[in-house]
């Protein structure tokens, strides 16, 4: 793990808010993989030592002056990656839910040029991952919503993803949400003609008590996401979409249309 950016090297983005108790162990596990990438921890206005711990572990710390939200944290990472000329980004959560062992697996289809966006899915292969009833219902609902737009994914809320530069350029725009970038950004990417694929990954249960989609927030989440999906689908397509659509969408979408 190196803190210095180097042209042509990818970036691993970890948005973190008050993750001091969990971050060092995660950074240690990432370092153990010996991956040729720059680890970037986006400290989203933490009140603890998140940024200092990240720097001590050799990662680059991007510190928000105040809390902006999970989506904004990711976007800061994308903007940084574009700035340093990274060809791709892998994003993972700081709570230890995502396993660094799967980073190479997520990246492989992008490095082979087979797709632009890879989602690490908990449900593509049987991994024994268990989700509560409400969240499972929500996942099924939004999987159905994604399917309406021709995106066949099994885990649309997974934060474990790999993105190439085309996706980064799209997601660095003002339409990217500051809070929950889930199905709405998938719709935006799909409409822009970007190729989406899922790979099965192992996910550990989150040790955090609250999640982005839990409790009363789930009602707000459903409302906000439906509105955002509608808005994303009614906006003009991004320029990339127009140029790529001429190339024929069938081949490009094969992966996203794989049976869920």
């Amino acid at each position: 793990m190196e803190a210095e950016p180097r042209a042509g090297r990818g970036v691993l983005v970890i948005p973190a808010f008050n993750e001091a108790p969990r971050l060092p162990a995660l950074l240690e596990r990432i370092a153990a993989q010996g991956l040729p990438l720059e680890v970037v921890v986006v400290d989203d206005g933490s009140r603890d030592d998140t940024a200092a711990l990240a720097q001590a572990a050799g990662a680059t710390a991007l510190r928000h002056p105040f809390n902006l939200g999970y989506g904004a944290g990711l976007q800061t990472g994308y903007k940084y990656a574009l700035e340093v000329g990274a060809p791709w980004v892998v994003q993972m959560d700081a709570d230890g839910q995502h396993d660094p062992v799967d980073v190479a697996r997520l990246l492989a289809p992008i490095e082979r040029g087979e797709c632009d966006l890879v989602i690490g899915s908990r449900f593509l292969e049987p991994t024994g991952y268990e989700m509560g009833f409400t969240r499972s219902l929500g996942r099924r609902f939004f999987t159905g919503i994604a399917r309406l737009f021709g995106i066949r994914v099994t885990d649309p809320t997974s934060g474990f993803q790999a993105l190439d530069r085309k996706v980064l350029e799209l997601y660095a725009g003002d339409a990217f949400p500051s809070d929950y970038p889930d199905v709405d950004v998938l719709v935006t990417a799909h409409r822009a003609g970007l190729r989406v694929r899922e790979v099965g990954v192992l996910m550990h249960p989150s040790v955090r008590k609250s999640t982005l989609h839990g409790g009363l927030r789930s009602i707000w989440y459903v409302y906000k996401m439906l509105l955002a999906v509608w808005a994303a689908s009614s906006r003009k397509r991004a320029p990339a979409a127009r140029s790529r659509t001429h190339g024929g969408p069938d081949e490009r979408d094969r992966d996203a249309r794989a049976p869920a």
Partner: protein, 141 residues
């Protein structure tokens, strides 16, 4: 039928009620006080010039309606209200809804700009930290 005719007559009575001079003066004073408040706030730099047109326009409309209560009466007839005061309340409510929506849009835009600025600061800080570390290394060497 009789009841409808009575109601229509009652409405006419409301609408034909002669204007009270002190009502006119009260409305005029409030309008002018609003103009004075806007100017005072601009002078004290508590209100930026670009936010004043809407308030000047509202003050102007109030002055106009205070001087021409007959126009307000016609407006009341046109929208089907019973009294000029209900028309003023109705227009006031419409104005408040419009201004709230306008400020929600401005707030969204300001929020986006603040987010972009904070992200820029985060990236620049990291670059500055890196430069400082390099410079310290060079000094040690």
């Amino acid at each position: 039928m009789n009841e409808t005719a009575t109601l229509a007559r009652l409405r006419e009575l409301f609408l034909d009620n002669p204007d009270l001079e002190h009502t006119r003066w009260l409305a005029l004073s409030i309008s002018l006080a609003l103009v004075a408040a806007v100017l005072w706030l601009v002078r004290r730099r508590r209100l930026r010039e670009e936010y004043t047109p809407i308030w000047v326009a509202v003050s102007g409309a109030l002055v106009f309606l205070s001087l021409r209560l007959d126009v307000l009466r016609e407006l009341t007839r046109a929208i089907g209200a019973w009294t000029p005061s209900s028309t003023v309340f109705f227009l006031g409510e419409l104005f408040l809804v419009a201004i709230c929506l306008n400020y929600a849009v401005r707030l969204s835009r300001a929020g986006l700009l603040i987010k972009n600025l904070a992200q820029e600061i985060a990236i620049l800080r990291a670059q500055m930290d890196r430069l400082e570390a390099r410079s310290a290394e060079r000094e040690r060497a």
